[in-house]
Point group: C2
């Protein structure tokens, strides 16, 4: 899933860089990855970001919990009682 972050435009000034949510600057047309696994592009008018992470939505929420594996950019869903056991996931978005 993707979303936009509009660049703050200075009138009369053409945009040569983008400022991300952390305040870091990126050159026009560059691409970077955030620590929460969004892949972002600096465009003329906006930053376009798309998440690399599939979100588990169909699982037993009473007995299972999701764990974010940053190194793999993915969630795993495990039992609350025994995190060594994975839970079935019927739907990812």
């Amino acid at each position: 899933s993707c979303y936009l972050i509009p660049n703050k435009m200075v009138p009369g000034d053409s945009n040569k860089e983008c400022t991300d949510l952390k305040g870091n600057k990126h050159p026009l047309n560059s691409r970077w990855q955030t620590e929460n696994c969004d892949e972002c592009d600096c465009l003329e008018k906006e930053i376009s970001c798309c998440s690399l992470v599939a979100i588990p939505v169909g699982y037993d929420k009473d007995n299972c919990q999701k764990i974010f594996k940053q190194e793999d950019c993915k969630y795993i869903v495990v039992e609350k009682k025994d995190p060594n056991k994975t839970c079935d996931v019927s739907q990812w978005i």
Copy 2:
């Protein structure tokens, strides 16, 4: 929606702080907010994070796009052709 980030445990060492996805350290039992609007708690065994942001899922994806408003921790959905016009959203998750 919430998720966990397990703390890397050092055997024999009791956990007095958490290291977040950016590599920043937080004291045990502290709470902070990330730039992408997750609220996170440093717990004994893990970081527990919950998103403060509702994600629009039911809208006209051909003609509309979502824009992240970091200052309000929310998405707005606007027409691609005319971003001044908002689009109807039938479902948020």
